[in-house]
Subunit: 305 residues, 4 copies
Amino acid sequence: MNYQTVLQEIEKEIQPLLTQGKVADYIPALADINPNQFAMTITCNDGTTYSVGDYEQKFSIQSISKVYTFTLALKAYKKELYKRVWREPSGNAFNSLVQLEYEAGLPRNPFINAGAIVVSDLLVSLYKEKTLLEVMQFIKELSHNEAIEIDDGVATSEMEYGFTNRALTNLMKSFGNIHNKVEDVLEVYFNHCSIAMTTKELSRSMLYLANNGVDPISGIEVTTPSQAKRINAIMLTCGHYDASGDFAFRVGLPGKSGVGGGIVAVVPGKMSIAVFSPALNEQGNSLVGTKALELFTTKTGLSIF
Amino acid sequence: MNYQTVLQEIEKEIQPLLTQGKVADYIPALADINPNQFAMTITCNDGTTYSVGDYEQKFSIQSISKVYTFTLALKAYKKELYKRVWREPSGNAFNSLVQLEYEAGLPRNPFINAGAIVVSDLLVSLYKEKTLLEVMQFIKELSHNEAIEIDDGVATSEMEYGFTNRALTNLMKSFGNIHNKVEDVLEVYFNHCSIAMTTKELSRSMLYLANNGVDPISGIEVTTPSQAKRINAIMLTCGHYDASGDFAFRVGLPGKSGVGGGIVAVVPGKMSIAVFSPALNEQGNSLVGTKALELFTTKTGLSIF
Amino acid sequence: MNYQTVLQEIEKEIQPLLTQGKVADYIPALADINPNQFAMTITCNDGTTYSVGDYEQKFSIQSISKVYTFTLALKAYKKELYKRVWREPSGNAFNSLVQLEYEAGLPRNPFINAGAIVVSDLLVSLYKEKTLLEVMQFIKELSHNEAIEIDDGVATSEMEYGFTNRALTNLMKSFGNIHNKVEDVLEVYFNHCSIAMTTKELSRSMLYLANNGVDPISGIEVTTPSQAKRINAIMLTCGHYDASGDFAFRVGLPGKSGVGGGIVAVVPGKMSIAVFSPALNEQGNSLVGTKALELFTTKTGLSIF
Amino acid sequence: MNYQTVLQEIEKEIQPLLTQGKVADYIPALADINPNQFAMTITCNDGTTYSVGDYEQKFSIQSISKVYTFTLALKAYKKELYKRVWREPSGNAFNSLVQLEYEAGLPRNPFINAGAIVVSDLLVSLYKEKTLLEVMQFIKELSHNEAIEIDDGVATSEMEYGFTNRALTNLMKSFGNIHNKVEDVLEVYFNHCSIAMTTKELSRSMLYLANNGVDPISGIEVTTPSQAKRINAIMLTCGHYDASGDFAFRVGLPGKSGVGGGIVAVVPGKMSIAVFSPALNEQGNSLVGTKALELFTTKTGLSIF
């Protein structure tokens, strides 16, 4: 199958949808983004890549970064990690305190905000003041690209307006599930959410999840095969907040979205896909990005189901 | 790979776990079951089957029957069905009224009790007093087996003790999401949950989900390919109540469990698997059944991830 | 103070508000009522009465009847009653299943629907098929009036549309907090809610609560002094569903409202007041009735605070 | 009636209960307190006082201080205040985030933590960096006692461990219901909760609530009569967190408790009562203090009901 042709068809078909979503506006740094952007890149396990649209355009990867920090923490803590963060779909919006309070401070999964903050806390316990450096180093290695950076404007904006995340973190601290200082943990969290990447960089960096934990191009073992499968499983059941079921239903691939408009998806054994379009649907996931991935699995039959 | 050998290894390895779970005791008809039973059957798309244990033993399929009624309703109502029952993981126990009340009577998915009751209501609207006959006929066709029957003792017991399901149904009726009489709908629901089948029958009947909606042995088209994929997607994200994420994590296959101790799982493109062991874990799924399927994907590498 | 003058001033001042509320429409039998009605009666402990408006007009007393059944059950069960129904404000709407589910079937207080249904169950355990007769007899004695009757049209309508109450009752039955048959309990509950009375009859019947449990006119001891105080305390904290705090704040008297538009209030040591006006405010309490009682305590200084 | 004799009877009767509760241990500064203390003071509207026990012993008044800050804010903001904090019982534990999240950041009443924090925010908007001084000045005036001070050890401890209150405040800030900086608001809140007073000082300071808003000894008008009645009404329905209904039922007086073991209660038109005993019951209110007040109204018949 000619993936370049598939991408070009998708790019054409999503045009009428570009105006329908709504850019994230919870921080000024994201609210100003041009909503009409679109980019999509496929990186296959053999190293070939296919792209359409603004695939050299950096954007704020936001919650997609939770895949990196979860991977890093899973490598270090192994099964112990699940004593601090669970692996079930949340059935509530991504920032809900309700469920967290009923469940005594144990977040449902590492891809809701509360869970990713606990993951940050686990990393701070390991790497102390070097945590952010270690996270950045890990992402650069996965991407084989030293040029990846944090967008300081976004990070500052997150810090300034992050009241809900402060509430979540303090609540978990009151339950004993945050071991470091709230502000130290949030500094790591807000900064890794503010990393800027292109679809090309993103799809390259996730390739280990399409190849049983081993980067197929460099041969570097990032995780065990079992860990890679399980990260994929959690992405499928929890990767899109309260629309994870809908994403599995429509797209049929493990994936993770961010409010910056990016989504990555994994076709186990074959490829990693990244898509970017900043206008969001009602569940807070990229409207055009979701549609583009739905078109992709429909056209290629590459759903895991 | 020799699947018979794999099954025999699994049968041996699960022996120490047989005494650890707890048989469902919410109705007397289920509480009396011998907990030390085990059976497992694989039916491949080419028609070959492999079994271990009590694979000719009938047991109460309970919530596994929701896959049949959902398939039947999806064939009839197509996308209209999703106006009456959604497709997101529930994030709460299988019989929770809380979420249903907050979400104004729209059940989260067709595999929690509330959702399956709405599916029964949809079928009653279509087939009136013949609904149960139609459901049984559909299951017999899928199983290629006329001998499948309802266990009347279980059905009577469900009717007598089904207060939580009556609460759910009346609540949905108060929101306008049950169109027929509460007792008519519940009669269908309680009866289809009381169907008794063997692992051999169960795995045979689900083969259409492993072959894009077409029964690979008879060639009969049960659903469209897209419908089959989507049933699998909903099984993966919602098939095990509040442990769906954990099942995806451990097993990595679409599956559906019942409190009678059965689980069916689907390997798309390859096979359907049924397992039975009546003692349940804390989430209400077969303890040994879950473990057996986890061992199966570990040994065979057949996880979809 | 001339109470007749006070009532006449109130009648004049509430005129502009008569068109602002909304008549209960959850059953047809109540939806048809003329919203522009108003009546108010004071019965003093010395037997003198003052009335304005349609004080001979019967109306559906609805939840006000819960005061009678609670009194009757408290006389029989004494402190044992509180093992089956608690006495805290509910902090949720009157028919919420959420709280009931979290609190394992123990209703918050006897004046929300769930609590009053448990009270009906307690009475059915005592009086069996004669329960409704006993309740009616008790109300007739309190009112010194044999002519009080159930409005059968309302009762039939409640039975037909009472899905939420059926949900509540089945949920409590699943938790073991309903001991009799659901339909037997609901028959008592729906019927006592359908009693029709005038403001004159209502205010007369509640006089025992203004006089330490002893009817001041006949001298009959209805409850102990302690029981009477405690019924008043529960009316103050729980008598107006999710607006109980607001009623205490505005009116400052123990009171109980019904969706039929009636409210009774008690001035301990002095009098009982009944008011009727069928259009309701957003919390489901008589809009004009609440305002009339607020005007009454403002004009007379008879708030308990 | 000889109140001194009543107090002495109470002191005797509560002795066996002194060992039954549990001292608050959420901060070290409170956990160290001797649980076997008891003090009770009545101050009548004519200025006479009656005391038993350690009535010169200072203790941490904690949430009782919310009555002072609410009074101060009500004087300044009048009805506008209710746009920022409501006046309904909460039906949940005192620090629940759940209800706050469902109700979009509007606290249920000024006596749960969230509500009192909004009251602090309202005062900070008025008095800026002088807020704490103004609050202390107001309490000194009400008490006619310049010697009242903040216990710095308690305040520091609250600041250090106050994660739940930080979570509440950040959550309300995310909903726009905190206008000043989180830490500025919490500094005021934690400090006013750390004020130390004796039962004698406490009962003196609340006398305005027993006399329609006017201090009966000095003649100073603290609030309007209507405001005083309404503060009493809110104390009755909301003064004891999730045990407010139980307190109204047992004691029958408006009151406010603190986790330091103090309770104040008001007999409108007659007196103010303060009691102290640090061991708490399961709802977080002074076990012996609640019992002492129940004995008081039983012996004197001074319940408002």
